[in-house]
Amino acid sequence: MSDTAVAHGHDHAHDHDHDHDHDHKPTGFRRWFMSTNHKDIGTLYLIFSLTMLFLGGAMALVIRAELFQPGLQFVDPHFFNQMTTMHALIMVFGAVMPGFVGFANWMVPLMVGAPDMALPRMNNWSFWILPFAFSILLLSFFVPGGAPAAGWTLYAPLTVQGGMSVDMAIVAIHMMGISSIMGAINIIVTTLNMRAPGMTLMKMPMFVWTWLITAFLLIAVMPVFAGAVTMLLTDRHFGTAFFNPAGGGDPVLFQHIFWFFGHPEVYIMILPAFGIISQIIPTFARKPLFGYSSMVFATAAIAFLSFIVWAHHMFTVGMPLQGELFFMYATMLISVPTGVKVFNWVTTMWRGSMTFETPMLYAIGVVFLFTMGGLSGLMLAITPADFQYHDTYFVVAHFHYVLFSGAVMAMMGGTFYWLPKWCGHMYNETLGKWHFWLTTIFFNITFFPQHFLGLAGMPRRYADYPIQFTEFNQWSTVGAFGLGISQLLFVYIIVSTVRGGKKATTEVWDNPEGLEWTVPSPAPFHTFDEPPVVK
């Protein structure tokens, strides 16, 4: 499919434009399956992520098709639940996380002036685990009872009772976890040990900083999640009773452990997006990033706070008043460092000589829409209000505003920003702008009405709804199909840019900052064999 198209195109472009003597590389199977090259592995991650985006997106369209009208039209409720569960698992672990790891693989060595990642062989491992993990997860559709249907949070005791698919999901999660942890270790070692001479920590590009902090979050919480699903597994098959009340366990304990992982996890999915935005905005505002050090500290503060707010996902589970208050205030506190970031982005743009190429449109779109998602998050943080909003479409709207128009759109912006560097060709600016506007408009048509649905009381994860919710759901479904179809344009732009187009210059943009713009476009197979010196 698009995989091979991109791979071929990439190869081709390289052979054509770039035949430095020292730049020979293996071809075919050896190049892609046994690669230890950070750029090739980055490409593999990005293609994998895009494939998963379409797969998860197709599941979202099944959900939206079913919800176009009240009543049951296309799928039965059990399959609907499989769709919501798998859509989330695939988007979180298959699209967003590997997507950012792909960006890190490509850009971190280029940005810190390193020849490759610190542990290239492990890099190959961490990627090639993923296709197997997701094959196992997807094969669960074909076992008796179908795929997991308990929601991506896998709450016990429902998952203690589920069929074989839960075990497959657990194995898949273990594999994804190992992959992420290896990837995170690699990024930390690369950034801490392989920076070019003169690049102190406080001179690192923001994207590298956000990924460094994200990598620490990954190492801290992925194992906790692995522990939680291991307890689930032993509860299911080996007679332990961590979560099973029949044996004296506590189902609420699962929620605590899950969200102890889950809340840092949502920052794992957004911090690298902040990093990408912080690279794009200064380039197109033609001003250095405002408040660099406050950006670094804000990122670290967000990461720290993410560990002490988990129970805001479970206000309604029953907690002492003091607990509710603590988690409410701690959650609200996060808006301070996040506000610092938004302020800095806006201030970077202030009185800049701004131009609005596609990456910049995406960056501004993310700042605007992510902030909306942040504000609905602040509403959800208010404990008494949350008792009403909990598990309604208001929550669905909230996390799609932060995850789609935050994380995914930042990756799209990052793709347009660095694609010329990756493949050596300029993308078609008109098509890029079309893609931005189609995506943004259809995204809002899809998710904005869901705020109203949630406030009016429509619960999430149901295949049916009372008729008064019909109209907003129809808006949402029309928007979702538009959003899905618009992404074909994204693939078209990428494939056609990889295959040909106007040649990109070394700098690509107008005097951008960063070491990645000092290597030729496309970036040669080997870069920075001699470390650059940063003043």
Binding site: A118, L119, I181, A184, I185, I188, V189, L192, N193, I219, A220, V221, M222, P223, V224, F225, A226, G227, A228, T230, M231, G239, A241, F242, P245, A246, G247, G248, D250, V252, L253, H256, I257, F260, F261, G318, M319, P320, L321, G323
Partner: protein, 174 residues
């Protein structure tokens, strides 16, 4: 070499955090016991309970009980509840009968609502969280001796004791 050391350290962090996930289990238990979170109650010795000075306010205590759908037992409180003065020792009696034609191991969980009252609910004897085997057709009365701590918050005017019996066959003999 510096890189190797860092890799080892980071791997260790990951392993420790895996352990931390498990450590959350006893931590959570301890947290619930200390705070009464989740309606966890306290067990004290009979002699200690006898020393408490009864107060003159009274709290309406209601007993409820359920038998999980997978368990063919009847399980009900003998009385619906009563008004209790904090500091007095009371007994709640529950009736349980196995309607099936096989012996079954069951285990009951226990909970107090509102949760903030849990900490001040002191049991001296209880059948919960221990395995109970009922022979086919066997019926039994089960006993809870308890006292409400005189330090029970003033705004707690009523509370509910709730028991649920689960099928514990899977864990029988552990």
């Amino acid at each position: 070499m510096q890189a190797k050391k860092l890799v080892v350290q980071l791997t260790l962090v990951a392993v420790v955090m895996f352990g931390f996930g498990y450590a959350l289990v006893p931590l959570y238990e301890a947290f619930c016991r200390i705070t009464g979170f989740g309606g966890k109650t306290d067990v004290i010795a009979e002699a200690m309970a006898a020393q408490a000075v009864p107060s003159d306010r009274s709290i309406a205590v209601t007993y409820t009980s359920h038998s999980h759908t997978s368990l063919p037992w009847e399980f009900k409180p003998v009385s619906k509840g009563l008004d209790v003065k904090p500091g007095e020792i009371h007994e709640a009696v529950f009736y349980v009968k196995n309607y099936s034609n096989r012996p079954i191991t069951g285990m009951s969980t226990f909970n107090v609502t509102p949760p903030r009252a849990g900490f001040h609910f002191k049991k001296t004897e209880c059948f919960c969280f221990t395995q109970q085997v009922l022979q086919p057709g066997e019926e039994k009365e089960m006993l809870v001796r308890y006292m409400l701590d005189p330090a029970m918050p003033e705004d707690v005017l009523e509370l509910t004791l709730s028991y649920t019996f689960f099928d514990n066959e899977k864990y029988a003999g552990q």
